[in-house]
């Protein structure tokens, strides 16, 4: 997560917008976070270098990229929606963000590598509760706000489903025929504008269609004050 808007922070903490604003102000005064209005709606808040260090994270610090503001909000909204489901918590699922994947890749990222927006890891045996039927799986999460071409979307789907190695592994291990796929399934969360393209791309996958799940992004994925596309 590169950063989030205060309304999402409030939802994450289970409080009000006012409480979130106060919390962000305290973080900012401690030098752990920074805040600014980067888009429509409430201000954005993100961790500074000191904040990242306090969390034990080695990401490069900085505000969310303006060009990806809408996308970042959509991914955060998807994460919050998923984390709000009891089955997610009971299954002990772990959200691995694009930022973490990017950090693993470091400078080894090839021009042709596509990173999913996140991965969701389901442990074989959760710490508490019974394991769900899909325990042990790893999902790729993609948030699609604007439609790409069907060919490009299909290529990304194929790449996600074909990958066998972790991100950051040697190039030779990224796709090894005969090994089980890394992403058992890919979950596409789409805006109304992008869903047609994603569905057509999924249809072209043939026998692998059942490994692509398509849903609409939650309503909170859209920037406050912006009309959904």
């Amino acid at each position: 997560m590169y950063g989030l808007q205060l309304d999402q922070l409030a939802e994450l903490l289970g409080g009000t917008l006012r409480q979130a604003r106060a919390l962000a102000a305290r973080w900012a005064s401690a030098g752990l976070a920074d805040s600014a209005v980067l888009s429509l709606g409430p201000p954005w808040v993100w961790l500074t270098r000191a904040g990242l260090q306090a969390c034990g994270l080695r990401y490069s610090a900085g505000p969310p990229a303006l060009a990806r503001i809408e996308h970042i909000r959509a991914v955060t909204a998807a994460r919050l929606a998923l984390q709000s489901v009891p089955a997610y918590r009971d299954g002990g699922a772990h959200w691995r963000s694009e930022r973490r994947l990017h950090a693993r890749l470091g400078s080894h990222r090839g021009a042709r590598d596509h990173l999913p927006d996140a991965e969701v890891h389901w442990p074989d045996v959760p710490a508490a509760g019974t394991p769900p039927d899909w325990a042990g799986e790893c999902w790729a999460i993609e948030a699609e706000l604007t439609p790409k071409t069907v060919a490009r979307t299909t290529a990304i789907m194929r790449e996600l489903l074909a990958r066998t190695g972790d991100y950051g592994c040697p190039a030779a291990e990224a796709r090894v025929a005969g090994l089980p796929p890394r992403h058992i399934r890919a979950v596409y969360l789409c805006s109304p504008a992008a869903i047609g393209t994603v569905l057509r791309a999924r249809e072209s996958l043939g026998s692998r269609t059942n490994r692509i799940e398509v849903r609409l992004l939650p309503a909170a994925a859209v920037l406050p004050g912006r009309t959904p596309a």
Partner: protein, 649 residues
């Protein structure tokens, strides 16, 4: 009495004496007969009976010691006691009493008799007719093959490495000029030399190559552990391409991974190499050589091209990092701007003078790289895997494959010669040490050898300290010219493996000839030969070409230093699942593809994941095994994002 009658009488007396001795030494005779029968049935050499007799000597020594202690004399009373036991009907007691003497003596006698039989048959002096020797040899061959097949089918009988760390290729069928052992054993150093493998399709060549590669890895590991050399690297150039190459690559991956290979990369389908990691000067040479150019008047354009490529590569801002970067530099404006700073007047003038040719050169490189595909555009390097299986489409696209071969060889040479302090070591760790043990295996290189002759590759690899293994479907597939073939074969210090091929004669000639006895027999009538005749020494090939033409799949002749070892190759398994489904040359045959599930560690596969066999013709972006029967996650996703209303299922 006539002379003939006298000879007949002598012969009868001799036979009677032999029979009398045989009866008198009945226990020895019985053991000898059993030994000869076993040797005949198993196609053994006499040495095996001699060795068995030698192994009985401790028993004889113990028996002698016991006799000396109990009777205070070495005088053997056992034969007498044994006769007494026989008379009383105690046959088991008689056998036990006489065995310490009779068994070693019988085995020794059997060995001598079997040796005499083999020698007389080899000299064509025995048997009812001269053709009997041929029938005997064929029969013995069948027996030897049967024994060798039984040996390789026995679990654990043919390990990849012997206890001494030597490589075992399989079970010996027959050895000529080589030690007659049970296993076809090669010293590990032989695998690090240059070898040649020739075998037509379906003869088990891939099975042999896989075993040799696995053996190379297995023999290299101890040297690496002892600090004598770096980690092993095998680079396979499959110059035929096509679906068959993908099948072999898939099989190689499974076999070699189970044999201890860390990573097996298949290029260009699944892994990439970066041409742009080459040092600047080498990159220029490689780029220029990738483009097909002529001689004579065309040399002028070659020089211009080289000058432009040099300008593009040696630009002040550093060498290009990708194809796109390089192509962007092949522009007169870019070159002019790159060298516009002070201190580059000469290069700037050169860029101006070549400005008219730059678009043409850019066009040629753009076309080349489009045809080459992304396989050489990175990311990746030879340090990323311990085995690189490189597929060149030498059948479908010769020019492209030639360029790829050239680039791969240059990349490998650069990788081997790079100093530890260079980027490879810095980014990849100690695995990039220049003293890596590298085996370059090229299959059907003649398909792409128009611009890089095989002997040049051979010599270059030798100069770099690489082991080279050249394989082909026939003698003619080794190289385009006869001189090159002989040059290759003559420098194969590691030996030549010859599998079934219709034209083995040139290779067999390299094995040399061996002296043998040829006997003529006097024909006394229709299909009746006397035992009179004459013998003479003559040279004949160490390996029988007809025998090689008639090889079954999995049989190979290993030719080295004037000797030949006929071997039944032991296929390598990829794990218990494969061994259960394709035991050696059984129903699946030695070339049967391995089931994909064999290589999958069970612990890594979720229980609901069913793994389908690998697609024989892997697509450009290979897809791992299908994952049907996924559990339904709709409840979770519906709760988080709502039902898929309005969406097609």
């Amino acid at each position: 009495m006539s002379r003939a009658a006298g000879r007949l009488a002598v012969r009868a007396l001799t036979a009677a004496a032999v029979v009398a001795i045989a009866i008198g030494l009945l226990p020895v005779t019985l053991v000898a007969a059993i030994g000869v029968a076993a040797a005949w049935d198993g196609g053994w050499q006499p040495g095996r009976l001699y060795r068995a007799a030698a192994w009985c000597l401790p028993m004889l020594a113990v028996w002698l010691a016991a006799t000396a202690i109990s009777r205070h004399s070495l005088a053997a009373a056992s034969p007498q006691l044994a006769w007494l036991a026989v008379n009383r009907g105690n046959y088991v007691t008689a056998a036990v009493l006489i065995a310490p003497v009779a068994v070693p003596a019988g085995l020794l006698a059997g060995g001598l008799a079997w040796s005499f039989r083999l020698a007389s048959m080899a000299a064509q002096a025995a048997g009812r007719s001269p053709a009997a020797a041929v029938s005997f040899d064929d029969r013995q061959w069948r027996h030897q093959v049967r024994a060798a097949k039984a040996l390789i089918a026995a679990p654990g009988a043919v390990p990849l490495l012997t206890r001494r760390g030597d490589f075992a290729g399989g079970a010996v069928i027959r050895a000529v000029g080589h030690p007659a052992r049970e296993l076809s054993v090669l010293p590990a150093s032989r695998l690090r030399s240059h070898q040649i493998v020739i075998g037509a399709t379906g003869t088990g060549k891939t099975t042999l190559l896989l075993r040799l590669w696995a053996g190379y890895l297995a023999t290299a590991r101890p040297r690496q552990a002892a600090g004598q050399a770096g980690p092993p690297l095998i680079v396979v150039l499959d110059c035929k391409g096509g679906a068959d190459a993908r099948r072999v690559a898939d099989r190689a991956r499974r076999v070699l991974r189970s044999a201890g290979a860390g990573n097996v990369a298949v290029w260009p389908d699944e892994a990439c190499l970066s041409l742009w990691t080459l040092p600047g000067r080498q990159l220029i040479t490689t780029l220029v050589d990738l483009i097909e150019h002529g001689t004579g008047g065309a040399a002028y354009y070659t020089d211009v091209m080289e000058a432009v490529v040099t300008l593009a590569v040696e630009a002040p801002r550093g060498p290009p990092t990708s194809t796109a970067d390089f192509l962007a530099r092949l522009d007169a404006g870019w070159l002019g701007q790159a060298y516009s700073a002070g201190g580059y007047e000469g290069q700037a003038a050169l860029a101006r003078s070549a400005a008219r040719q730059v678009p043409d050169i850019a066009l040629r490189f753009r076309t080349l790289f489009r045809r080459l595909g992304p396989g050489l555009d990175g990311p990746g390097g030879f340090a990323d895997a311990s085995v690189w299986y490189c597929i060149l489409e030498g059948t479908a696209e010769v020019a492209v494959a030639e360029a790829q071969a050239r680039a791969l060889v240059d990349l490998l040479a650069s990788f081997v010669t790079q100093a530890p302090a260079t980027t490879v070591l810095a980014t990849k760790g100690p695995d990039a040490s220049p003293d890596r043990q590298v085996l370059l295996a090229v299959d059907e290189f003649s398909a792409v050898a128009r611009r890089l002759p095989i002997w040049q590759l051979f010599e270059r690899a030798r100069s770099l300290g690489l082991s080279v293994q050249v394989s082909a479907q026939s003698w003619h597939g080794l190289a385009a010219r006869q001189d090159d073939r002989y040059r290759l074969a003559a420098t194969a210090e590691g030996g030549i493996w010859l599998l079934g091929t219709p034209h083995p004669d040139p290779v067999i000639a390299l094995a040399g000839q061996r002296a043998s006895v040829e006997t003529s027999r006097e024909l006394a009538g229709r299909l009746r030969w006397l035992r009179h005749g004459s013998s003479r020494l003559r040279d004949k090939p160490a390996a029988d070409p007809e025998r090689i033409r008639g090889f079954e799949p999995g049989q190979a002749a290993y030719i080295h230093h004037g000797g030949v070892t006929f071997t039944q190759i032991k296929p390598l398994g990829a794990g218990p699942a494969w061994q259960a489904s394709a035991p050696g040359p059984g129903p699946g045959g030695p070339n049967a593809p391995f089931p994909a599930s064999a290589a999958l560690p069970a612990s890594t596969v979720p229980p609901h994941v069913a793994v389908a066999p690998a697609d024989p013709g892997l697509p450009a972006n290979p897809v791992p095994p299908e994952v049907p029967r996924l559990p339904d996650v709709s409840s979770l996703l519906d709760a988080a994002f709502g039902p898929p209303a309005g969406l097609k299922p």
